[in-house]
Amino acid sequence: MTETVAPSRTAMIEMIKVCKKFPPNVVALDDISVSIASGEIFFLIGRSGAGKTTLLKLLCNMERPSNGLIEVAGMNIHQVTGNKLAKLRQKVGVAYQDFRLLTDRTVAENIAISMEVSYKKPQIIRNRVRSLLAQLQLEDKHDILTGDLSRGEQQRVALARAVANSPALILVDEPTGNLDATSTEQVMELLIRCSNSGATIVIATHDEALYRHSTHRIMKLHNGKLASLTRGDGQERLKSMEAMNGGSSDGI
């Protein structure tokens, strides 16, 4: 099922006919066109190897598309270089699937990195790190080396680093892969809080529980092709609950 669901606000991400091929002849993404609005939460789903991570890598300029155009915040990110690219990257927070943590540094140092590069004041950095650790229930891990953490804890630290600099765009790759239900809830709460502050969030996930009952757009990839672009059934569920309750509901 392919349904066109248009974004309602100005576009943060604009992808037009994007293709990505890896040598010798592996097509990772083929003819992907999508527009993601500012402040939107956007789910990217599909089986392993469908092209989700490649798409995120294209969005954060870790890879270049073989064809097509990608604009982030109105800029063709693959034509931006030098300090302009650095400034753009400061506005994009990425939580990688493999975390990319510096295992010989403490949790606090890892989270602080994204703020240090934009020259935030040490006091602001300290406060922000403590606040994020509290939101993710990692307060006691402040001075622990990330190499000594469990996978689930490392995943949450990676997410904290991605959101620490209050970026305008947050790209998250499998944010709940190693988390229990409570931690998953904490992570989603944090992401929703970021979205409420105006950040656009793109989440690549396998976890159906994350998006099934949401009201956000969901793009399904299959073998690098756009298989469907739908909206979660949260709205319908809300309506049916309202109908059952005689017209009033507190929402989901």
Binding site: C60, M62, G82, N83, A86, K87, L88, R89, Q90, K91, V92, V94, R100, L102, D104, I113, S114, E116, V117, S118, Y119, K120, K121, P122, I125, R161, N165
Partner: protein
């Protein structure tokens, strides 16, 4: 937090993490500076000693006969034809005898039975200070030997030649050790920075991904180069100064070494050596970054 605060923090963190490699590099730089400065210091002191020797340089032309006033005039003219000289002095047989007696001091009794004209008359030629090279002195002495009535020309040939060749040898050593300093310092710093870059590749890539500018990533490495140059050269020069003091205390005021007044480098040369080390280390660091920093 401003740019420089972040840079100093990054540099400090890196120095803490890789202090053993940094220390070895500093040691190598300081040894290179020490080797070079050691020979350069000797060379400078030899040059100043050479100046002293050539200040006292005089060519003595021994004559067959004592020249009369007319002959003296002609000889003066002939000598001046070769080159301008500082002074020409005619020494009569009697004057030569008186000088010799004075040199003998208490032993002048040995001259009692000798005639006062047994020593030959001579001309003492003091060349201008511009006449410094061994070749020029040789040519001048050969010319003086062709003067009418000239018997022999003396100017301490062997001593001047030996001294001249020694300073030549020293200048080659200084040149070689200078090249050695340049190569060692540059390569050592370049390889240290390269090792650091390889060890921190993951971190540097992450920094790039979270939006660090090229300057934010590169400047700490340049600072490391500057620090290695500064600390290495200071260590090398301090060691040389200690060695110099020790030598001055133990060998001054006796025999051969009394000829020289040992002096340490003037502030200008010290500053140049430090500056040169800093520049070389920074160049080493920069070339490594350009080659190996995949950012």
């Amino acid at each position: 937090m401003n740019f420089w605060f972040s840079i100093f923090r990054q540099t400090g963190r890196n120095l803490r993490q890789t202090w053993t490699t940094q220390f070895m590099t500093c040691l190598t730089v300081s040894l290179s500076v020490l080797i070079f400065s050691f020979f350069y210091l000797i060379y400078l002191n030899m040059l100043s000693a050479g100046d002293k020797v050539t200040d006292d340089l005089r060519l003595v032309v021994y004559l067959d006969e004592e020249p009369g006033p007319e002959m003296q005039k002609q000889l003066r003219l002939k000598i001046s034809q070769f080159d301008q000289v500082q002074e020409i002095k005619f020494i009569s047989r009697e004057e030569a005898y008186a000088r010799f007696a004075e040199q003998l001091g208490d032993n002048r009794d040995v001259l009692t039975d000798m005639p006062t004209d047994f020593l030959p008359a001579s001309i003492e030629v003091i060349p201008l200070k511009t006449l410094r090279s061994l070749n020029q002195i040789k040519l001048f002495s050969e010319y003086l030997a062709t003067l009418p009535g000239s018997q022999k020309v003396q100017y301490g040939q062997k001593w001047v030649e030996r001294f001249y060749y020694f300073t030549q040898l020293l200048s080659i050593i200084v040149l070689l050790s200078g090249i050695l300093l340049i190569l060692t310092a540059t390569f050592m710093v370049a390889s240290t920075i390269r090792l650091t870059i390889f060890g921190r590749q993951e971190e540097l890539e992450l920094l790039k991904l979270v939006g660090a500018t090229n300057n934010y990533i590169r400047t700490p490495f340049l600072l490391e180069g500057i620090l290695q140059g500064l600390i290495g050269s200071l260590l090398g020069l301090t060691s040389l100064y200690i060695l110099f003091q020790w030598t001055a205390r133990h060998f001054s005021g006796a025999g051969f070494l009394d000829l020289f007044t040992f002096t340490f480098f003037p502030p200008g040369i010290i500053a140049t050596v430090i500056l040169l080390s800093i520049v070389l280390c920074t160049v080493g660091s920069y070339t490594s970054m350009q080659k190996f920093l995949r950012i």
